[in-house]
C-alpha cells in the first residue's frame, strides 16, 4: 500500500512539524507530529497525533522515524491490529 505525505505545522503548543498521511484514495488517515526536543517523553520522535478509520483509537505510539511510522500504519490498515 502506498501512502503519501504532506508536510504541515501542528499547533501543539511547540510549533512542531508534522505530516498529513493519505492513503491510495487520497483520504486523510493520520496526522504524525515530529516531537520537538522540548518534549520530555520522546524528543525527536514521530508521534501519531491523530488517526482516522482503522487508526482511530486511544493508542498513540511514537516512532523513531517516518519510515517506522508508515510501516506501522500499513500494518494496521492491512491487518487491523
Amino acid at each position: 500500500m502506498s501512502l503519501s505525505l504532506q508536510p504541515v505545522q501542528v499547533a501543539t503548543g511547540h510549533d512542531e512539524d508534522g505530516v498529513l498521511v493519505f492513503d491510495e484514495s487520497q483520504r486523510l488517515i493520520a496526522v504524525l507530529t515530529h516531537l520537538s526536543e522540548q518534549n520530555e517523553v520522546a524528543p525527536g520522535q514521530w508521534f501519531l497525533e491523530a488517526g482516522f478509520g482503522r487508526l482511530d483509537g486511544v493508542h498513540h505510539p511514537t516512532f523513531a522515524n517516518l519510515d517506522a511510522a508508515q510501516d506501522w500504519i500499513r500494518q494496521r490498515l492491512t491487518h487491523g491490529s
Binding site: G13, H14, Q38, N39, E40, V41, F47, V58, H60, T62
Partner: protein
C-alpha cells in the same frame, strides 16, 4: 519536571508486623517516591471517621483495638487483582495506590488514586469477587484489616457501619466525577482536575502544606489516569508550568494560584464530600 522516570522499586524484605495499638513510625528508606505519612493506621481511621461524626469513647476504643497487619509494598506491586476474593481490607497508611482495570488487549485505565487514610478495597467487605485491581503506585505502607474483625465492629457500632458505607458512596461519587473528567474535559483540564483532587484529598489528611504536595507518578501513570498518551501528558504539564498554574521541583508540586487552577479544571470539591462535622 514532573517525574517521567521509570518507577523506582524498593526492596520489600521487611516482614509483616501486627499492630493493635500504639505506633512506632517507620524508618524511611529515603526513597524519593516514598510519601511522608507519619500516622498510625488506627489514627488515620479515627481521623477519617471523626471528620464525619464525633466518635464515642467506646467507638474509638473499638477502632483502636482492631488488629491491623502492616505490610510494606514495592511500587507497582499489585495488592489485590480482579477476580480475587479477599478476606481483608487494605487501609493505606503511607504512599499512593491506584485502582485500575485492563482492556482485553492489556491497555490500562486507572480509575482512582488513593491517599493515606483511604480504604481502596472497602467494597470487598460485601462484594465477594473484586471487579478491579488495586496496586501500589509508590512504595507503600498498608494495613490489612480482616473482614471478620471489621464485621464484628460494624455489628456492634451502627454509626461505624454507616460511616464505612458512606466511604463506599464517596468512592462511587469520585468514580462518577472521573467518568465526567475522562469523557468530557480536554486533556489540559483533565490534568488540572486531577491535581486539584490530589491537593484537596492530601490537604484533608495533612499532606499538602502551603499548597505543596508530592505527585510521584510517572507520566505513563498520569496518562493512564486521564485517558491520553504520555506524550500529550508531557505537553500538558509543560503548558501548566508555562502558565504558572503549577510549579514543580522533583516530584513536589506547588499550586501558586488555587482559584485559577480550580477555574481551569472546572473543579468543584463537592463530589469529595469532605465536609467536617457532618452527622453520619
Amino acid at each position: 519536571m514532573l517525574s517521567q522516570t521509570i518507577t523506582i522499586s524498593v526492596a520489600c524484605a521487611r516482614p509483616a508486623i501486627q499492630v493493635s495499638s500504639g505506633w512506632t513510625p517507620y524508618l524511611h528508606t529515603g526513597n524519593s517516591r516514598m510519601t511522608a505519612g507519619p500516622y498510625s493506621p488506627h489514627s488515620l481511621m479515627i481521623r477519617k471517621l471523626e471528620s464525619i461524626f464525633r466518635l464515642s469513647s467506646e467507638e474509638e476504643q473499638a477502632l483502636q483495638s482492631l488488629p491491623v497487619q502492616i505490610q510494606f509494598l514495592k511500587a507497582d506491586q499489585d495488592i489485590v487483582r480482579i477476580g480475587d476474593s479477599p478476606s481483608q481490607c487494605c487501609l493505606l497508611v503511607e504512599g499512593y495506590t491506584c485502582v485500575y482495570k485492563l482492556t482485553a488487549e492489556g491497555k490500562r485505565q486507572i480509575v482512582a488514586f488513593h491517599v493515606p487514610g483511604d480504604i481502596p478495597d472497602l467494597q470487598s467487605l460485601h462484594l465477594n469477587v473484586l471487579d478491579n485491581s488495586l496496586a501500589a503506585v509508590t512504595p507503600c505502607t498498608v494495613g490489612f484489616i480482616q473482614h471478620e474483625d471489621l464485621r464484628r465492629v460494624c455489628e456492634r457500632y451502627p454509626r461505624i457501619t454507616a460511616a464505612l458505607w458512606r466511604e463506599t458512596l464517596v468512592d462511587a461519587s469520585i468514580f462518577r466525577e472521573w467518568v465526567l473528567n475522562v469523557g468530557r474535559r480536554d486533556a489540559f483540564s483533565r490534568m488540572a482536575h486531577l491535581l486539584c483532587e490530589l491537593r484537596v484529598k492530601l490537604k484533608a489528611v495533612g499532606l499538602a502544606e502551603d499548597d505543596t504536595f508530592d505527585v510521584p507518578f510517572t507520566q505513563v501513570e498520569l496518562a493512564d489516569a486521564i485517558g491520553t498518551s504520555n506524550v500529550h501528558v508531557n505537553r500538558v504539564l509543560q503548558e501548566l508550568r508555562a502558565k504558572d498554574l503549577i510549579r514543580s521541583k522533583g516530584t513536589q508540586v506547588t499550586i501558586p494560584d488555587w482559584e485559577k487552577l480550580k477555574e481551569v479544571a472546572g473543579f468543584d470539591p463537592l463530589y469529595l464530600h469532605l465536609e467536617q462535622g457532618r452527622a453520619a
